[in-house]
């Protein structure tokens, strides 16, 4: 659900066509932080 994403996370998810459910969330209450998306993108770049 988009409404649960913070503004920076929403931007990254839209820009990179990501599925938020595939991102490991470390924020309070299971929220995805910007750090989490960046880590996800970095991990995704690996072969």
């Amino acid at each position: 659900d988009d409404a649960e994403l913070s503004p920076a996370v929403r931007r990254l998810v839209m820009e990179n066509n990501l599925n938020p459910q595939a991102i490991k969330a470390t924020g309070p209450g299971g929220r995805i932080t910007k750090e989490d998306v960046l880590a996800h993108l970095e991990g995704g770049a690996e072969p």
């Binding site: 913070s6 503004p7 920076a8 996370v9 931007r11 470390t26 924020g27 309070p28 929220r31 932080t33 910007k34 750090e35 960046l38």
Partner: protein, 473 residues
């Protein structure tokens, strides 16, 4: 009256009274033992904060700021007031009424929550017993399943300037002057010294602050501290650094001798306020056979959950480690009450906001640039001056800035530092952001109302990634 309770709290300050209310809300039978007596002779809840700390100092800061506006800054708006009179006694009376209303309010809350208020000194004995010495001297022993120690702190005295209650006073006394001292000396340029200095300076005192350290406000981000220092200098606060007071001699006035890097110096003042710090009230807090453990600095030894070495005995607020701030003590009180009731409780010590109520105000949360450099954490920062916001211009209140510091790689906000109008209110947004692990970009992408002072926070967050709109990046 029953002398057995689920919870006995020693101390009715912001840590203790909040702990008691939360415990009562959770269905625990609760008593608070408090020995404070207001200057009118009436026992009063609220502790240091309500009686001789946060609230009375803010009451005087607000009154003195109104006076300063009328006499100094309203003319910029085209408002001219003639023959403005200052009635210090009336100002002090209003402050006392504010205090009375609020401490009376806590007594009402205690009644509403069926909390027993025991007036007297509480002392922890062995086996979770509390000995109460009533104001008239008689003693009683109370017993509880859980005990919360919240005895607070008191001002530190120094041998070089012993208090005489007349010319040499501590922060309590500085809230009670019945006329404006012509010249006011303050030992210590920390939060309390700056606030007391601001009150009396605005009312016309020539204020000199003697600070032993070489640095201004070491816990504050130094760029923000420097900006504040420049403003205080403009206001006429004379802050002298590296000044170690050796002796204060009282005659018709006070001669304060001190040493700095240039050698021996002295100043003459009419009143001297000693504001060098506060120490925990552990003096008569527990009997020897209670075996309560103190740490090496004299604070009650506790873990992250405020548990002492004794099972079922907790300690919170100024008597334990951490910043001596009312809201810190209150949150510890909530945590402990919830844990006693078998619920999870937690205090996030990384997001405790600090405020200094000068004008401009100083407020911050999280870490400073200096601390991050020291820890080797890579960061980036953005700043924005209030002078570039329309709201501050309209208010004719231009001094100050916001600084947002974020992690260089993750963009997570690590600290926000503000000096400027209403910094005390603006910092709340930063605390919420940090509590949600927000990035600087999150803050930058959130809509801020226009025109408001909060736009300076928005622009500083934008400035972290060099995309502030209202300045050249």
């Amino acid at each position: 009256m029953s002398k057995n309770f689920d919870v006995i709290v020693i101390g009715g300050g912001p840590a203790g009274y909040v702990a008691a209310i939360r415990a009562a809300q959770l269905g625990l039978s609760t008593a608070v033992v408090d020995n404070f007596v207001f200057k009118d002779g009436e026992p009063a809840l609220g502790g240091t904060c309500l009686n001789v700390g946060c609230i009375p100092s803010k009451a005087l800061l607000d009154s003195s700021e109104q006076y300063h506006k009328v006499t100094h800054t309203l003319s910029a708006h085209g408002i001219k007031a003639k023959d403005v009179e200052l009635d210090v006694k009336e100002m002090i009376k209003r402050k006392d009424k504010v205090v009375k209303d609020l401490t009376g309010g806590i007594a009402q809350l205690f009644k509403a929550n069926k909390i027993t208020w025991v007036q007297g000194h509480g002392k922890l004995l062995d086996n979770k017993q509390v000995q109460v010495t009533r104001h008239k001297g008689e003693q009683e022993t109370y017993q509880a399943e859980s005990i919360i120690l919240a005895p607070g702190s008191r001002p530190i005295d120094i041998d070089a300037a012993p208090l005489d209650g007349e010319r040499i006073v501590n922060s309590d006394g500085a809230l009670e002057f019945q006329e404006v001292p012509k010249r006011l000396g303050i030992i210590g340029a920390g939060v309390i010294g700056l606030e007391m200095g601001s009150v009396w300076s605005r009312l016309g005192s020539k204020v000199t602050l003697l600070e032993a350290q070489d640095q201004f406000l070491p816990p504050v981000d130094q760029r923000v501290a420097k900006a504040a220092q420049a403003e205080f200098k403009k206001q006429g606060l004379d802050i002298r650094f590296g000044a170690r007071v050796t002796q204060a001699k009282t005659a018709k006035n006070v001669t304060v001798h001190y040493e700095d890097k240039n050698g021996k110096q002295s100043i003459q003042v009419d009143k001297l306020v000693v504001c060098v710090g506060r120490r925990p009230n552990t003096g008569d807090l527990f009997s020897e056979d209670a075996n309560l453990l103190l740490d090496e600095r004299g604070f009650v030894n506790v873990n992250e959950q405020c548990e002492t070495n004794l099972p079922g005995v907790y300690a919170i607020g100024d008597v334990v480690r951490g910043p001596m701030l009312a809201h810190k003590g209150s949150e510890e009180g909530v945590m402990v009450a919830e844990r006693i009731a078998g619920k999870p409780g937690h205090v996030n010590y990384d997001t405790i906001p600090w405020v200094i109520y000068t004008h401009p105000e100083i407020a911050w949360v999280g870490r400073t640039e200096e601390a991050l450099k020291h820890a080797g954490v890579p960061f980036k920062s953005g700043t924005f001056n209030f002078g570039a916001t329309g709201r501050a211009r309209a208010m004719e209140d231009l001094a100050g800035m916001v600084k947002v510091i974020a992690h260089a790689e993750t963009d997570r906000i690590l600290g926000v530092h503000i000096v400027g109008p209403q910094a005390s209110e603006l910092i709340a947004e930063a605390v919420v952001a940090m509590e949600f692990h927000a990035s600087a970009e999150d803050l930058a992408r959130i809509i801020h109302a226009h025109p408001t002072l909060s736009e300076a926070v928005h622009e500083a967050a934008l400035s972290v990634s060099k995309r502030a709109i209202h300045k050249a990046n």
